[in-house]
Symmetry: C2
Subunit: 313 residues, 2 copies
DNA sequence: ACCGGTTGCGGAACCGGTTGCATGAGCCTG
DNA sequence: CAGGCTCATGCAACCGGTTCCGCAACCGGT
């Protein structure tokens, strides 16, 4: 493996100059930069990460902490974050805390000295716990907002509110919301938005939950949905909706409308059912961009909150 | 942040001794080891990864390369690998190549100098391409076997064969296999096993595919399943099965048995339907163990092939 | 022609561990 | 009791970049 010294020798300059030519071209003569670059190219020089990290005091790694990988909501976020991290020459590690609140904090603490920053996806627990987890390194929250912290969230609450309004406008009278995991910030937001949307109308709103975001939970919720004699159902997650739809179909119930993702609606030809699609990849990209900004600033920049609008179609 | 020098000073020894006391206790006096450990403990010493890597010439990172994160087959594998890697003090990075063959090789090449080894999950393409991808660093294949390479696979072929035999024994006469992605090694294995199982019986076997492992693919395949007048269906992936079952239910077809995972069968109360469950986590763990062995050996150890038996219930 | 100010570059220290080699103390054996 | 060994330890040289600092060449201005 060629080292910087090899490149420098080939270009006829010192290590110091070679380093500058590659890393801070503005500090070297254009002609020198060109020569060094050519030498690096010719040798197939790839800087040694560990050496760079050691010299700079940075690890070049960021971690994304997710509750689970089994939920298809998180995987696109990871992909998006991964792509953006790679663009900046950073590596991404993934920490899964298996839905346990305490494991979340432990995971962060354990990784804290091995990474430059964190992306915390859908953190559970109290604000204080999340603040504690974020106290180690620059951190961006995903799908949760806390006063004074940088965050990127999909504004699903607005979309869910619009969804309920749509159902109301279509004349639905008994609408059911199948709530998500206990302690979910998104769930609280959505509940509020849904209540507001249904309030002034004559429709009856039934709030179920909390449920985990799983197929099995949807199956389990079916009982209550039937009991509520629902005409329209808004599930917290696609997987919940799928489980529910399955049971309804098996029971021969075909006149309950269940909202879902565009992909499900289209492939099943469900017809006039509105769908909500969160662009998880975008969410991951945005969050990573914010983290990069955080890492770039010398002084602490004011926390930024990004909200992605979620289309309903 | 305390450094090794601080620990050494507090313990009253040199950096060298401190390093040995912590890393190779057998090379230092027991009493010294105790003192150094106490000092490290007291200071909350955490070795700087970059420095260790630089000195040892290893990165301490391994990469797992997966086609996609949207398939719930891969995520448990990642979790398992992650856990084992952490046990060995290694970090895991994830590379997603979005189902594109060429991107797979590119991803590996790009990461090659930043990691110590690779886990290639369900690699597509020819043996030569996979060999090329494995030529950079020690590599363990997951869910694919190639002559002369170390691999960990779930023996689903046997399970699928048993499944077909079970259907035959139950008197099913028209059995359909919905094939997986083109170029999938597992798919080839399963096809062979299924053909063998059906061969001597009077049952008609219809092979469909290739299909990607998605819900939509299951929906799409429904047409052909119905056309084949199947009484039992064996889908390549759970997601395919779900999509298929959905369509069948919507069409009011209730007498076709579709095999699935235990979880699905149980939560839906499908009754007497056999299920196949791959322990992805275990698979990831086993593969990571193999990789660790590979990285530990000075001389090249002979390649090992691990096959996990897959329960059918 | 002289001078303060830029600009480009090289020397060398440094980041924080690991490890080969040399040293000296202590022990066993003859 | 001397010679040879083992064992614990320290010194110092790395690993491969980054960056502070100082030097020299060169700039335009008076």
């Amino acid at each position: 493996m060629p080292t910087l010294a090899d490149v420098a020798a080939l270009a006829g300059v010192s290590k110091a100059t070679a380093s500058r030519a590659l890393g801070r071209p503005d500090l070297a003569a254009p002609e020198t930069v060109a020569r060094v670059r050519a030498a690096a190219e010719q040798l197939g020089f790839v800087p040694n990460r560990a050496a760079t990290q050691l010299a700079r005091g940075r690890t070049g790694v960021v971690a994304v902490v997710v509750p689970t990988l089994d939920n298809t909501f998180f995987t696109p976020i990871i992909s998006g974050a991964q792509a953006r991290a790679a663009d900046s020459g950073m590596q991404l590690t993934i920490a899964v805390h298996s839905l346990e609140h305490s494991a979340q904090l432990a995971a962060v603490e354990q990784l804290a000295h091995q990474v430059d920053g964190f992306l915390l996806a859908a953190p559970r627990g109290s604000d204080e716990i999340v603040r504690a987890a974020a106290s180690f390194k620059p951190t961006v929250l995903i799908d949760r907002e806390i006063e004074g912290m940088t965050s990127a969230v999909a504004d699903t609450a607005t979309a869910f509110g619009a969804l309920v309004s749509w159902f109301v406008a279509k004349g639905h009278e008994r609408i059911v919301y199948i709530g998500g995991p206990a302690g979910s910030w998104q769930d609280r937001q959505r509940q509020a938005a849904i209540r507001a949307a249904a309030e002034s109308s004559g429709a009856t709103l039934t709030m179920l939950g909390p449920y985990p975001s799983t197929f099995a939970a949807g199956v389990e919720a079916a009982e209550a949905v039937v009991a509520a004699r629902a005409t329209a159902v808004v599930p917290y997650a696609t997987s919940i909706g799928l489980g529910l739809m399955f049971v309804l179909l098996r029971r021969g119930i075909r006149d309950v409308v269940v909202s879902s993702e565009r992909m499900i609606v289209d492939s099943l030809g469900l017809g006039d059912v509105p769908s909500i699609d969160v662009d998880g990849e975008k969410l991951g990209e945005v969050a990573m961009d914010q983290l990069m900004t955080l890492l770039g600033e010398r002084r602490e920049a004011p926390p930024t909150r990004r909200r992605l609008t979620v289309p309903i179609s």
